[in-house]
Symmetry: D2
Subunit: 347 residues, 4 copies
Amino acid sequence: MDHEKLFFASDYMEGAHPEILRRLMETNLEKTPGYGTDAYSEAARARIRAACRAPEAEIHFLVGGTQANATVIDAMLRPWQGVVAARTGHISVHEAGAIEFGGHKVLTLEPEDGKLTAARVRRCFAAWRDDANRDHMVMPALVYISQPTECGTLYSLGELEAISDVCRAAGIGLYLDGARLAYALACPQNDATLPDIARLCDAFYIGGTKCGALFGEAVVFPRPGVAPHFFTVVKQHGALLAKGRVAGIQFDALFTDDLYGAIGRTAIEAADRIRAALHQMGYALAFDSPTNQIFIILDKERAAALSRKIEMSFWEYTDDGRVIMRIATSWATTREDVDALIEALKD
Amino acid sequence: MDHEKLFFASDYMEGAHPEILRRLMETNLEKTPGYGTDAYSEAARARIRAACRAPEAEIHFLVGGTQANATVIDAMLRPWQGVVAARTGHISVHEAGAIEFGGHKVLTLEPEDGKLTAARVRRCFAAWRDDANRDHMVMPALVYISQPTECGTLYSLGELEAISDVCRAAGIGLYLDGARLAYALACPQNDATLPDIARLCDAFYIGGTKCGALFGEAVVFPRPGVAPHFFTVVKQHGALLAKGRVAGIQFDALFTDDLYGAIGRTAIEAADRIRAALHQMGYALAFDSPTNQIFIILDKERAAALSRKIEMSFWEYTDDGRVIMRIATSWATTREDVDALIEALKD
Amino acid sequence: MDHEKLFFASDYMEGAHPEILRRLMETNLEKTPGYGTDAYSEAARARIRAACRAPEAEIHFLVGGTQANATVIDAMLRPWQGVVAARTGHISVHEAGAIEFGGHKVLTLEPEDGKLTAARVRRCFAAWRDDANRDHMVMPALVYISQPTECGTLYSLGELEAISDVCRAAGIGLYLDGARLAYALACPQNDATLPDIARLCDAFYIGGTKCGALFGEAVVFPRPGVAPHFFTVVKQHGALLAKGRVAGIQFDALFTDDLYGAIGRTAIEAADRIRAALHQMGYALAFDSPTNQIFIILDKERAAALSRKIEMSFWEYTDDGRVIMRIATSWATTREDVDALIEALKD
Amino acid sequence: MDHEKLFFASDYMEGAHPEILRRLMETNLEKTPGYGTDAYSEAARARIRAACRAPEAEIHFLVGGTQANATVIDAMLRPWQGVVAARTGHISVHEAGAIEFGGHKVLTLEPEDGKLTAARVRRCFAAWRDDANRDHMVMPALVYISQPTECGTLYSLGELEAISDVCRAAGIGLYLDGARLAYALACPQNDATLPDIARLCDAFYIGGTKCGALFGEAVVFPRPGVAPHFFTVVKQHGALLAKGRVAGIQFDALFTDDLYGAIGRTAIEAADRIRAALHQMGYALAFDSPTNQIFIILDKERAAALSRKIEMSFWEYTDDGRVIMRIATSWATTREDVDALIEALKD
């Protein structure tokens, strides 16, 4: 990479939070059994159960987000069933058909601010239930949401409760993709805690890869029995780590002394400073995101000029030919990085 | 784990070789692009191409062995095709149906010493080709072998050449699972080098997880074009690492200053000492393995007694009711570990 | 069924056109080889090749429409590829996830009058091609259209040519679902002939089940080589008829003395009379369909009242709470049936 | 076909039993609803329930045997489960990987006389249950048998009861493929009746295609609830007939006035006459089949000579280079056909 540049392209540009590496170092030569049966993985599970106030939760450590989504969704659906998601959801667009590879249709709904709404989910269930041809159609049987969403927006506790209510009334599962959950939990605007998520969802994952780990996602089934033989399904999906402890140790570290919270707060504080500066400078933002991702609308010339100084992610073109670029902060974003970015954005 | 015990259950009981962790530490705060496009992954690819004398090789870093097998096999087969493997092969038995999950049948052949033979592979191809009902049958279209095999045995260069010849004459691909390849390459008995494997196979993977890495397998297509759009197939299988560099840095370390060779040799020297002692003490071995896995046949009482002191892996029961236990050495096995093991086996 | 009622619910309420049954009767005791290798199937293929002016066409007789769609699409796509279809297309909605069961995503576009447009297809291809993340996305690699569409509307020759041009420029296949093709071909408004379809598409099927056969769809690949080993893929999909001649004889009959044309014309003449009467009586129609399906918008009371006398199909609710009911004619619809229907609609 | 020849290649060389065609003719112009909801399909279900003494049975009419197997097995298994079958079973060899296409492994056991044995099935279950690595392996969860088997042999009632007992003790389903069930039921040696099969199995199908129908297999779940949403799974597999009555009418005919029994008896009487003559003439048979298939072992010259006069099926080569040819009788085999065959075999 060009070392003159400012790097805000994503939240997974570095290795791991130093505390995580330290823990991997200090345990490195210990001998443990494989496949997540080691004491570190067990300790991590205990810490996550406590953080979620879900003492019965079944917890598995997988490697990445697409893998977690494909494995959980496949495990929770029967062959005739599909998963409901926002048209812009990660599983709808950016997982290369991993859900369909497992044999299941993604039933897409139009989002509002990147989010599903309880009303639209209810209508989707009713439309299937009331259709004379429903036996020729894929049954909606699981709802997929992300917190934060692809656009960086957040479900409020009330919104989550409403969707959960609709799902439970219909006997349908709710699954939350928490690839960037640390950044949701750290937002001042957020009112949905980990125990809320555990209470309202049937499955979710706590993201590690984009929240300071080398890799790893903690799949949580708050109430056991939701996904029988999940270990074997994980193996079948090629998602079982032989050295399971490498994920376990990382999550043990993330959930010790609230490291996961600290990682989120660092990123949110940086993002908030950037947002304030952008607002002051009159930049237009594509989404009202309070999390660690900021989506700036730029005309093409401006985008090109800024891109020479700042590494951002291309997001998409607007209908009027402008371009949306994403800036992301992380646990590794320093005060100096933010100062330099704000300076660069002034030109 | 019980710290009084001797640990020989597997070759993936520790974290990573210290040199690998050192490299992860020293690069940790650098910023790189994701998904294996970083300079470390590129450097690792260059080193592996050189080691394989395959300057055009296409190389992808995946996380685990089952994942590598399922992804490569799925990418190399068309829907009407299956993969030929030994009845005892890892994909036949111990991957929870991952190949079938991708829609493909594993066509099993009876092994000799855990190995396929060129003659049996040829007969398998001919049987399909000559069958009047072949259009109702799964076409054998890829051959899967492991080096070393599940039983620790090795294909000689001549055996590999013979199988490769049969495959090429039939226009059928050859894929080699190298989960423990370091231990094959380090055997004095081995005469099939990495360049040989690259010359004779259409795809193979160089195992990291069981050969000193935290995780990771380097999938090599020695000649490009064998698996189009493989990056997307990897993503679809949930096998794409966001922080691809974490695998790249490990393989860069493994192929610097012949670390991969040194790891293999440490394990083989330990295993050879154990084998010599076992021979002297009159133990019966199940397979004539020259690699880092040793399979001891014990009566049940003896197995139980030894298991109180030595952590071994249960392998299987023999037809006459005895038990086969596996001892594995690794890069982390010390001279003192071996001394203690030999002492314990004397009782 | 209630024998007082008028039956216009679908075009597959009877057995087969009597001429088809006659041919099955007269050949019944002849002995032929199985799986479509018999002389009747060969004769049917020759007649279809002639009707399509596609002398090299590869032709397979399958049993039903969903089966034909799933088998052809699976055979034409590679694992990382998906099929583009209208949001209202049969494969998008009414095939119970059969395409996803085969591992492929249906990429949906918003239709106009039930049809894809060349412009939207071009934008879809360009959006994928220009997306920085396209390797994380399903590649559009086949376009699915129906003639007539689910709404009974028709692609004009110009529209088909435009879509075909877009596909060929992008190197992407075009597949046409002709479940009711007889009714398209028989429309006075239609200007896309069978040779046009064979020239413009890479695969299509000529519908039998809904056009007078007991069952059966003739899958046509106008230019060979598009779907290698298709026979085996058919078998793998459970779509291979042991007594293949039962389909072959039916298509031989359908393409003898233009029976397929006559079947279509009977239905269209009946539908045109009904449309004229509906127009005169001031009924509102949901789609501007010139084919054998007519979609009437009714308020709920009127729909209930008419349904006591006329067996129609429920289609869907309109946004303002009215109901769309479908009337379908077929080869079996008589002049008297139409007279009685028009009378009943007057009340 | 060469009309000088004698045709004994298979039991599906003709159309349908004339009584079936007669019923299709006489009902042809009646209007019925689709997808198997018509009165004829209901009547057929009632007759089959009575014949099976299974008043609660859930019955679906599918088109062919591979389709029935793939759909039922997929519906009865969860993703981590596989189906146990004889190595020579139809699903193991001759269905082009249809079971694996649905994501499931076929776990093969070595047969005796083409049959699974209760002892081997029990050992297979125990091997999985007792394996320390069973969570890395496909769980045996359904047993597939055929009556008669691929080799024409029959399970005795005692053998079926023993296998059923083993399955029930393990909580594992039993599925019977009855592609040629008429020929089993009609054998004097047979002591396993339809009610026995319904009592002992969790699912089975009564073959139509090879027992006198144009096509069609009646899938029977003797006790409901075994395969939830089976209608939708059938649709998803492309196995749902729009004109479901065409199958329903055929099975209604087959189970009226014991036509299914008469069809079987005609074939068995013919086969028994042929067997007696073969025995007298000293021919060697490959299997001790009492059903409508006879497997003659011939040296190659003799096979070639006979094949000029008699259309037989090639089965396989023996280890000593001879050839096994199959002769099959059916409902359509006449006394004269048998006389001529016996004469031809004398030369």
